[in-house]
């Protein structure tokens, strides 16, 4: 288990550590986005019996997304004449800031976290709701009907899906008795049978219910990140490309970055809350440090997101709302009530 505490190791005041961590996170998100776009293109290619990027940079086209990013930075920056200039410029930053802010409370190791807020999970739910404002701003400011439709759909979808997400995330909170991400991680070390094994993770803790909660969270998080099968805000065949139709070059790159950062964030939350985050699946695997487990688990979930994207068709708006309000919400509520009852009985 990685018991390395960087604060004690370098004897730094906490503010410096947080500034350094912020820099690390920005760099990580950028590199991750480049990698994830490449991964997505390869996965989409192999799902369709294609090859994906092959030529750029030599072996398997590894430099493809680097070239893409560089090119996007060099493109002309267009602001449409009838757009609302101020809001148009502000929107990508708000979307990106909302995504980045959440990264502050995600633990990469048992001690490797930006800041261990005692309301960690609640903070995540709160901050991720600000992304909607940025999207609405982008959609309105573009002065384009596709962008506005995309923004409205996106907002409606994200606001609806926050409820099943919140309810399913409350299950581990009930079992732990704390909202702090570190506490939730540590509570998954021990529990049933032997300590330190993977069956202590919350996904396996109360067999059917936590598993259902995990699946609900995962599906709802697809809607939260606007990915297929819930990508109706960016539906290429109906709305040109949704709320970022009018964005070019670097501003578009920021939306792209935020989208892939969001993918990582929902995967990271799921892996911390349900899959033990930085914990190894068995005690004899403890020599592999926590951040690697954390990244591995998140990447597997990101892979499943992409796998789903290239499997399923897009749902309609009414189907989307039907799934949220008539299937996910009742399931999540029943789950929540059952677990709450169990916790109360357990404590007595």
């Amino acid at each position: 288990m990685s018991q390395f505490n960087p604060l004690e190791a370098f004897n730094l005041p906490i503010v410096y550590w947080q500034i350094i961590w912020a820099g690390i996170i920005v760099a990580f998100v950028t590199v991750f986005a480049l990698f994830a776009v490449y991964l997505e293109r390869k996965i989409s290619a192999y799902a369709q019996d294609r090859m994906g990027p092959m030529e750029t940079g030599g072996w398997q086209g590894w430099a493809q997304t680097i070239a893409d990013a560089l090119k996007l930075l060099l493109k002309e920056d267009i602001i449409p004449e009838l757009a609302d200039r101020r809001l148009f410029k502000l929107a990508p930053y708000i979307v990106f800031a909302g995504s980045l802010g959440v990264m502050a409370v995600i633990p990469f190791g048992v001690n490797l976290i930006g800041t261990d807020l005692n309301i960690g999970l609640y903070f995540i739910l709160a901050l991720s709701s600000t992304v909607v404002i940025g999207i609405l701003m982008a959609g309105w400011a573009s002065n384009n009907k596709w962008a506005l439709y995309g923004a409205m759909r996106s907002a409606a979808q994200m606001v609806s899906y926050e409820i099943p997400i919140g309810l399913s995330l409350m299950l581990p909170v009930l079992l732990t008795g704390s909202l702090s991400m570190i506490d939730i991680t540590n509570a998954q070390k021990s529990g049933i049978l032997a300590d330190g094994y993977f069956w202590n993770w919350y996904i396996f803790r109360v067999p059917p219910f936590t598993l259902i909660a995990f699946i609900l969270y995962f599906w709802a998080s697809l809607a939260e990140t606007n990915r297929t099968p819930f990508d109706i805000p960016e539906a290429e065949s109906e709305l040109v490309s949704g709320y970022h139709t009018e964005y070019t070059g670097i501003r578009f790159a920021m939306f792209f970055l935020a989208e892939y950062a969001n993918m990582f964030i929902v995967a990271a939350i799921a892996s911390v809350v349900f899959l033990g985050g930085p914990l190894a699946p068995a005690p004899w695997l403890n020599w592999i440090p926590g951040p690697i487990w954390m990244l591995l688990k998140s990447l597997v979930l990101v892979f499943i997101q992409m796998w789903l994207r290239w499997t399923l068709p897009r749902v309609r708006v009414d189907q989307l709302m039907h799934i949220c309000w008539k299937i996910f919400l009742p399931l999540a509520l029943v789950n929540f009530i059952v677990i709450a009852t169990l916790v109360v009985l357990w404590q007595k």
Partner: protein, 162 residues
């Protein structure tokens, strides 16, 4: 007479190397618009699909002209469509390129003489970089055209509007 802006600093190691990197980036990620006009568009789709896979060259279709670098004029440009083609071209951010695919886009094709409704070559309204002959061209011919466009981007000293 003022010297051209790009000639101000002459050729030096820093500028040329950075310029080379930029040209490599631009040539390696050409994102065309999802924009098809007629039968050539079917071949364009075939080129993007599994058998020929344009994604191997970093070419993948963007739905919005704001996010695309190239425009593949795939098919007959009627006089009615010409204004839209021009408009879509103007909506793309610089630097931008145009690939004219097939006889109709090149010069009006079979309608070059008697067609009362067809634009006699798309280069009458927008600057074309690469002409791909064929009616319609094979997907390989389109890939060939894209490779030619990559060569153009890499050869040009300074691309439009850096």
């Amino acid at each position: 007479m003022t010297p051209p802006k790009e000639g101000l600093y002459g050729r030096n190691i820093l500028i040329t190397n950075v310029d080379k990197l930029f040209r490599w980036a631009r040539a390696s990620s050409i994102w065309p618009q999802t924009f098809g006009l007629a039968c050539c568009a079917i071949e364009m789709m075939a080129a993007a699909a599994s058998r020929f896979d344009l994604d191997r060259f970093g070419v993948f279709m963007r739905p919005s002209p704001r996010q695309s670098d190239a425009m593949i004029i795939s098919g007959t440009v009627t006089l009615k469509m010409a204004s839209r083609v021009r408009r879509l071209y103007e909506q793309m951010p610089d630097p931008k390129w145009v690939i004219s695919m097939g006889s109709c886009a090149n010069s009006g094709g079979p309608y070059w003489e008697g067609g009362y409704h067809v634009l006699k070559g798309v280069d009458l309204i927008i600057p074309v970089d690469v002409y791909i002959p064929g009616c319609p061209p094979r997907p390989e011919a389109l890939i060939d055209g894209i490779l030619e466009l990559q060569r153009i981007i890499k050869e040009t000293e300074h691309n439009r509007a850096i």
